[in-house]
């Protein structure tokens, strides 16, 4: 959609224009646009920068400004009263750009208080992060959109005379990356609107029901679900840029994940309160997209505190309970890690109501972990939570965090704990076949077979328990910190019975023994052949109705 040749999918990065509205909180009580531009020109590689007066009132010039600079993406630094998303989308489409090519960043929160230099620094960081995300974006396919006709639409014939249509993003599932409904299906269960159907081999999205909350995007362990303008890769780039920003000591801001529906109700600072200037907002479609790993990764990479602001009972997706469970889980986990006052590190804010406190008052003086480089920042669960745990418990800056136990079971835990009964396992490997994240792995090298488990990959989907023929597996939605830190451990190892004729593997010895036990009435010589002769070396023929002998090709 508006893509130039060679810029679809994994093509070269888009050219990006950062356009700062000259009126966006400019002045001694706000930002210094010139300073913001200087910082961006130094730090936002690949982006050209411009300042235009009254840009928020003249968004129609944005496509022309972009075209002049060879840019296919625009980041607009606006003053909160800027153009609506619908209008920006219409201007983008009219210019032949992707409908989501113009990203408006409200600089209101960072321009509220603090020094002009600090505000300008924070504004530049937000714009640079958005520019980096725009450069890496993949473009939009028609299959990822749903058309909304204007409410006043009255006839099909009059369609072409109506106001601008709106295109809303719709989740889309990449059939190549998806591990399949039978092995996973997490997206089906997380969707608050039942918009994802458990079709086979892959789930399918009913576009008319999708509200683009993003919950499915962040729960998919394979990263196979996309959402225009709100893919996981966008938020990974945003966070990586903000977390790696060279803040001055003591000026490191907190991260505020704000639901798109809540951004008009950001808490206003109380009189004399300066700390609100130390929060950087990341706007998400819905808080249901923010999994525990997002908040924990930020805390594990040097952010002093994380806050979440949703739209409360106005939530179209109805996922406020899910968010509360996730926050409770994270607080429990932080407490288990020995973090003092975890509620100061992670805060769930209520939308602004009359008389409520802002909730953004004060930041802890120290982060839980050092800012130690952004390599490997991934928001894909359960790796995001497991990786953050590892950093908090073992990474640079350890000593402030000491693992003191494990949190209680929680449906919000991205990780699971496997219980295994060694005695009954026959090493059939079926559990490993269905595991969507390879938390369970089965190996057979001819002489031995082994089953191993890695707790940091288990997302408690329970597919293994459903397929285990011997019922030796149980999974609990709980985070066992020690299991996560232990890495891959072997659950069982056993010998593999070899064919007495050709030497090739027949089956694990435990499985052969299990089969023998389940066929007590069969002749011993038959049972011996089952365990001692491979399929290729066996011959099969019958000698009469209901009678069949399995013989070795060596002879009966």
């Amino acid at each position: 959609m508006g893509a130039a040749e060679g810029q679809r999918g994994d093509g070269p990065p888009w050219g990006v224009l950062v356009a700062l509205c000259g009126g966006a909180h400019a002045g001694p009580e706000g930002l210094d646009p010139g300073e913001v531009r200087s910082i961006l020109e130094e730090r936002a590689s690949g982006a050209s920068v411009t300042i235009e007066s009254d840009l928020c009132l003249r968004p129609g010039i944005l496509p022309d400004l972009a075209a002049d600079r060879g840019a296919a993406r625009v980041v607009l630094g606006s003053c909160g009263g800027g153009p609506a998303t619908v209008e920006l989308q219409a201007w983008a489409r009219r210019a032949g750009l992707d409908p989501f090519a113009i990203d408006a960043i409200d600089l209101g929160l960072v321009a509220a208080t603090g020094s002009v230099a600090g505000r300008s620094q924070r504004a530049a960081a937000l714009l640079a992060a958005a520019a980096a995300a725009a450069r890496a974006s993949r473009g939009t396919d028609a299959a990822q959109l749903r058309m909304r006709l204007p409410r006043e639409a009255v006839s099909r014939r009059a369609l072409l005379t109506l106001g601008p249509v709106t295109y809303q993003p719709v989740a889309s599932i990449d059939a190549v990356g998806c591990v399949g409904t039978e092995r996973c299906g997490l997206c089906v269960s997380i969707c608050p609107k039942a918009a994802i159907r458990a079709s086979t081999p892959h789930p399918s999205v009913a576009s008319e029901a999708c509200v683009a909350c993003g919950a499915c995007v962040s729960v998919c362990p394979a990263g196979a679900i996309g959402l225009p303008g709100a893919g996981l890769d966008r938020f990974e780039v945003l966070m990586a840029t903000l977390l790696s920003w060279p803040w001055a000591d003591g000026a490191r801001p907190g991260l505020l994940f704000a639901c798109r529906g809540a951004t008009t109700s950001l808490p206003e600072p109380r009189e004399g309160e300066a700390s609100q200037a130390h929060w950087l907002p990341i706007v998400v479609p819905c808080l249901s997209m923010v999994t525990p790993g997002w908040a924990l990764q930020a805390l594990a990479r040097g952010v002093p505190a994380v806050a979440l602001l949703g739209c409360g009972d106005r939530c179209e997706a109805g996922t406020e309970e899910l968010t509360r469970e996730r926050v409770t889980y994270c607080l429990d986990l932080l407490a288990s890690l020995g973090v003092l006052e975890p509620a100061r590190r992670l805060r769930l804010l209520a939308p602004r109501t009359t008389g409520s406190t802002s909730g953004l008052d004060g930041l802890p003086g120290e982060a839980l972990a050092e800012r130690s480089g952004l390599g490997g920042l991934s928001l894909l669960e359960p790796a995001a939570t497991a990786g953050a745990l590892r950093r908090l418990a073992e990474g640079p800056g350890r000593g402030r965090v000491v693992a003191a136990g494990s949190p209680a079971p929680s449906p919000a835990s991205p990780l699971g704990v496997l219980t295994f009964e060694d005695g009954g396992c026959t090493l059939c490997g079926t559990c490993a076949d269905v595991c969507p994240t390879s938390a369970l792995t089965f190996r057979q090298d001819g002489k031995t077979a082994s089953l191993a488990y890695e707790g940091s990959r288990c997302l408690s989907c329970r597919h293994c328990t459903e397929v285990c023929p011997e019922h030796v597996l149980a999974v609990e939605a709980r985070t066992d910190i020690a299991a996560v830190l232990a890495g891959r451990t072997e659950l069982k190892r056993g010998a593999v019975a070899a064919c007495r004729r050709c030497g090739r593997p027949v089956a694990p010895a435990a499985m052969v023994e299990r089969v023998r036990r389940s066929l007590p009435d069969e002749p011993p010589e038959l049972l011996d052949l089952l365990g001692e002769v491979c399929l290729d070396c066996r011959g099969l023929w019958g000698t009469g109705p209901g009678t069949m002998h399995i013989v070795s090709r060596e002879g009966p």
């Binding site: 959609m1 508006g2 893509a3 040749e5 219409a90 489409r93 009219r94 032949g96 750009l97 409908p99 939009t140 396919d141 028609a142 299959a143 959109l145 749903r146 058309m147 909304r148 006709l149 639409a153 009255v154 006839s155 099909r156 014939r157 369609l159 072409l160 005379t161 109506l162 106001g163 601008p164 249509v165 295109y167 576009s207 008319e208």
Partner: protein, 219 residues
């Protein structure tokens, strides 16, 4: 959106034209056919102006620009590209049965399914022996459905034709067009048919979206 064209062209009529043009583009590119398309391109651009605000328009506009620029000297190259991609053992067979179902096993079944859809609406193949699941035939069928929708608008019975359009897009054309387009992007050495296929895919996908949105709208 922009003001409607002076002749009051309906959305269905505009869609009929686009499907007709796309169908023609997937027929063998004789010199006459290419010359006709190049001549018609400016008029096509003018009459599709009301579609400017729709997200598929950039790829359609790119295609029109390509058609406007075609000269007689381009014909051999385009014909060579067509033959290499679509004819006989070409690398990108333009048939639904080549991209749906079990390769080599369901060819007849899929062709029969498509033929049955045509037959249910009183249509038969004009050229005997022409496979019913050939891409230009399926696109031409969509054009026919849009024409019927236009004719029915006066009597208020267009809703039924919109249902047929949605069913054919979902059940036939869009079942395989994405895969065909992905293959063509890989196999096409020139840009002409890549642009044609991308425009066809984006238009068809958008059309399904539009029809879904329109389903609840009165005539």
């Amino acid at each position: 959106m922009t003001d409607p064209p002076a002749d009051g062209t309906s959305p269905a009529e505009l869609r009929r034209i686009v499907y007709r043009v796309l169908a023609t583009l997937f027929l063998y590119p004789t010199r006459d056919r290419l010359a006709t398309l190049a001549t018609a391109a400016p008029e096509l651009r003018r009459c599709s102006e009301p579609l400017r605000d729709l997200v598929f328009f950039p790829s359609w506009s790119t295609l029109l620009t390509t058609l406007e620029a075609i000269s007689e000297a381009d014909a051999p190259g385009i014909q060579g590209e067509y033959t290499g991609l679509f004819v006989a053992s070409g690398s990108c067979p333009p048939y639904e049965s080549a991209h749906s179902g079990r390769p080599g096993l369901d060819t007849g079944l899929i062709a029969a399914q498509v033929q049955a859809v045509y037959g249910s609406l009183g249509m038969t193949m004009a050229a005997p022996g022409e496979p019913p699941d050939h891409l230009p035939v399926e696109l031409e069928f969509m054009s026919f459905l849009c024409a019927e929708e236009t004719r029915s608008e006066e009597t208020g019975e267009a809703g039924g034709w919109i249902d047929h359009e949605r069913a054919f897009l979902s059940g036939q054309l869009l079942r395989w067009l994405p895969r065909f387009t992905a293959l063509l992007r890989r196999e096409a050495h020139g840009s002409f048919y890549r642009r044609v296929a991308e425009a066809a895919l984006e238009f068809a996908q958008h059309d399904r979206m539009l029809l879904d949105a329109m389903a609840g709208v009165s005539p």
